[in-house]
């Protein structure tokens, strides 16, 4: 068995952490400097425009808020710009035989067993075709007896399909301690000694055997590598919203991830799934404690993946992300409400990291990553604060003094500063859209647009996705702000299961979930129109989507029937996905016919009750 001794880890610094190479340090300095420069320009423009009638407290608040929020936007833009540059692809290492023992872990909790186990069957076949051996362990945290019985039945079907005895395992945990992280930890404590590498998946993950083979080879070739993360490609989007997310992830995602990889170096990210870990490294460094106090800030660590990446780096292992690994897939939320529900969970998890900012021994960059995660949610509250402060500053501004001197013949009119405000608005818009157009231009030059509907088709998709995200931004801002306020006020949102495959929403469902956004949008607009009519038109891009929230949520959940948001995986369906669809279809047919048989049998016996399989 390949046993990495501590001496084979990174040539660590004196505190045991991996050293930062010059290129990574250069990328970090460039990105931070550019973000600070853009933030300084933005706050300078606002300061110039707002202090002409004297400096008020609200002016200072607005200048500070625009500094912080612009720095955040610029940071995101810098990830894309840094990711645009391509490096020469280095030769992929070959898998060395004997192949190190590897396991694929599929932690599940209240998932659709038929779809989940059909994915496992498809992956198992793909792994065997790739000429490797990998066990697969389905780790269930499902506790409801009926749901657990469905899983056992689906597993028996999986074993019959794959002949997977002693290769595919299923175990159900008695307690759900530590949720997904605890589930994986439990496996490692009981069975981790049998494996060198573990590929960690989600219930909706799919990976090609060839991708797993390549990842094992990468781990073999680099004994310092503790974790290798892939960029999963979103598949199976049907709704307008789902397909827009799928397109954005496939088209823009690799560039942003390349930028992230350059910036993070060996202190890279772990996104909790579609990644391979070195089992011994993970075992010795990633045992998560329960935080003191009650949720939302105490208890189990919810966003465990960021913490595990930081702990691996603390122990001297390198953690990398590689967007170029093909054959890694997952599913995404199909509508705004599913997205917001997942976001609420992530918000609580990321804000919990406030407790870990000063954890002993972490690399500075790991702390910065925690800070970014925290900030990604706080920023919504800051944007909302900026809007409120802007309205309040306008309402409380003193009337212009046309005759500041006592003996003055002609009036002095205030200088028109609308040019500065327009420049600021355009600058912020530029930070949001320029990276996406830059990615499109590069894709056009490289011919990558072919898989996305060609030059025109991909351009229309890029523009539509920008319009959609701009329209939904105020709605998302409201959901995120509510989530942050709930967490900060101590409300634990728990860890509800993912709502996979949730699709079309009716106007009534959307209204129930967003009426408070409509009320807030109406109140903000009419209060501004009454108190500061000049400012009201500026708030229309924010208030109109809020007023239309139910329509937007319901409309974007409808199936997309035209040729927008094409992705390469639709033209050439990946083999593992095609196989999953075949197996899933077959199993559903079997289930349907067995249900029909039971229904006939039960009506014949006069019971009349329908027993689901």
């Amino acid at each position: 068995m390949h046993d990495p001794s501590p001496s084979s880890r990174n040539e660590a610094t004196t505190d045991g952490r991996p050293p930062v190479d010059t290129a990574t340090a250069g990328f970090r300095v460039t990105a931070i400097s550019c973000a600070l420069l853009a933030a300084t320009v933005a706050s300078g423009l606002l300061a110039e425009a707002s202090i002409q009638d004297g400096v008020e407290v609200l002016d200072i608040v607005r200048v500070v808020l625009i500094f912080v929020t612009t720095a955040w936007l610029s940071w995101g833009a810098m990830l894309a710009f840094l990711g645009l540059a391509r490096t020469r692809a280095s030769a992929e290492p070959e898998l060395q035989m004997p192949q190190p023992p590897t396991v694929v872990l599929v932690p599940i909790c209240n998932e659709d067993p038929v779809a989940t186990f059909a994915r496992v069957a498809a992956m198992d076949r793909s792994i065997r075709e790739a000429g490797i051996r990998a066990d697969i362990a389905i780790l269930s945290d499902t506790r409801a007896p009926e749901a657990a019985a469905h899983e056992r039945r689906a597993f028996a079907r999986l074993m019959a399909e794959t002949d997977g005895a002693k290769r595919i395992f299923y175990r159900q945990r008695e307690d759900g301690r530590g949720r997904k992280a605890g589930n994986v930890e439990d496996f490692i404590r009981r069975s981790g000694g049998a494996y060198d590498f573990a590929v960690i998946l989600d219930a909706d993950s799919l990976m090609e055997g060839s991708a797993i083979r390549g990842m094992i080879a990468r781990m073999q070739a680099d004994p310092k590598l503790g974790l290798l993360q892939t960029l999963p490609c979103i598949v199976a989007g049907h709704s307008f919203f789902g397909r827009a997310m799928q397109f954005a992830a496939a088209f823009h995602g690799p560039v942003f991830t390349r930028g992230l990889a350059r910036m993070q170096g060996g202190t890279g990210p772990f996104w909790g799934h579609n990644a391979i870990v070195r089992v011994r490294a993970f075992a010795e460094s990633c045992g998560l404690p329960e935080l003191s106090g009650k949720p939302p800030f105490g208890g189990h660590i919810l966003s465990h993946d960021y913490v595990e990446a930081a702990l691996l780096a603390r122990a001297g292992w390198s953690v990398k992300v590689d967007a170029s690994i093909d054959g890694s897939y997952e599913e995404g939320p199909e509508n705004v409400l599913s997205y917001a529900k997942r976001d609420r969970r992530w918000c609580q998890g990321n804000l919990q990291h406030i407790r870990l900012l000063f954890a002993p021994g972490l690399a500075g960059w790991s702390r910065f990553v925690f800070l970014q995660g925290i900030f990604s949610y706080l920023v919504s509250l800051l944007w909302a604060g900026f809007l409120i402060a802007s309205v309040a500053a306008t309402v409380t501004a003193p009337a212009p003094d046309y005759f500041p001197d006592r003996y003055q013949l002609f009036p002095v009119f205030p200088t028109d500063r609308s040019r500065e405000i327009m420049a600021l608005a355009l600058g912020i818009l530029g930070l949001l859209v320029l990276p996406k157009f830059a990615i499109w231009a590069q894709s056009l030059a490289e011919g990558r647009v072919r898989g996305f509907g060609g030059a025109v088709g991909s351009f229309i998709s890029v523009v539509t996705e920008i319009l959609l995200t701009s329209l939904l931004a105020p709605v998302m801002l409201m959901y995120q702000s509510r989530a942050v306020l709930q967490v900060l006020s101590g409300r634990d949102g728990g860890w509800p299961a993912n709502a996979r495959g949730e699709g079309k929403l009716s106007i009534a469902q959307a209204t129930r979930a967003s009426f408070w956004i409509v009320l807030a949008g109406g109140a903000i607009y009419f209060a501004t129109a009454w108190l500061a009519p000049d400012l009201a038109p500026w708030l229309l891009p924010v208030c109109v989507p809020m007023l239309l929230a139910p329509l937007l949520i319901a409309w974007t959940s409808r199936p997309l029937t035209h040729a927008l948001f094409r992705a390469p995986e639709e033209r050439a369906v990946p083999p593992v996905l095609e196989r999953f669809r075949e197996i899933h279809g077959d199993w559903l047919d079997e289930l349907q016919s067995s249900q029909d048989t039971r229904a006939v049998a039960s009506s014949a016996s006069g019971a009349g009750a329908h027993v689901p399989a």
Partner: protein, 52 residues
């Protein structure tokens, strides 16, 4: 228990992953708060608890 369920329960014994324990120590993530010794004169200012 139906025939199908008992067959599944029988097979389930072979479903569990292999036993190969690995130690996974819990990591320290919270810094222990430092106890600061208050100067004696401050303690004297505190109200004394009266015992019955």
């Amino acid at each position: 228990m139906t025939e199908e369920q008992s067959a599944i329960a029988e097979r389930a014994e072979g479903w569990t992953p292999p036993e190969a324990p690995l130690d996974m120590p819990s990591q320290v993530l919270e810094s222990r708060a430092r106890r600061v010794r208050a100067p004696g004169f401050l303690l004297r200012l505190l109200p004394m608890r009266r015992t019955a």
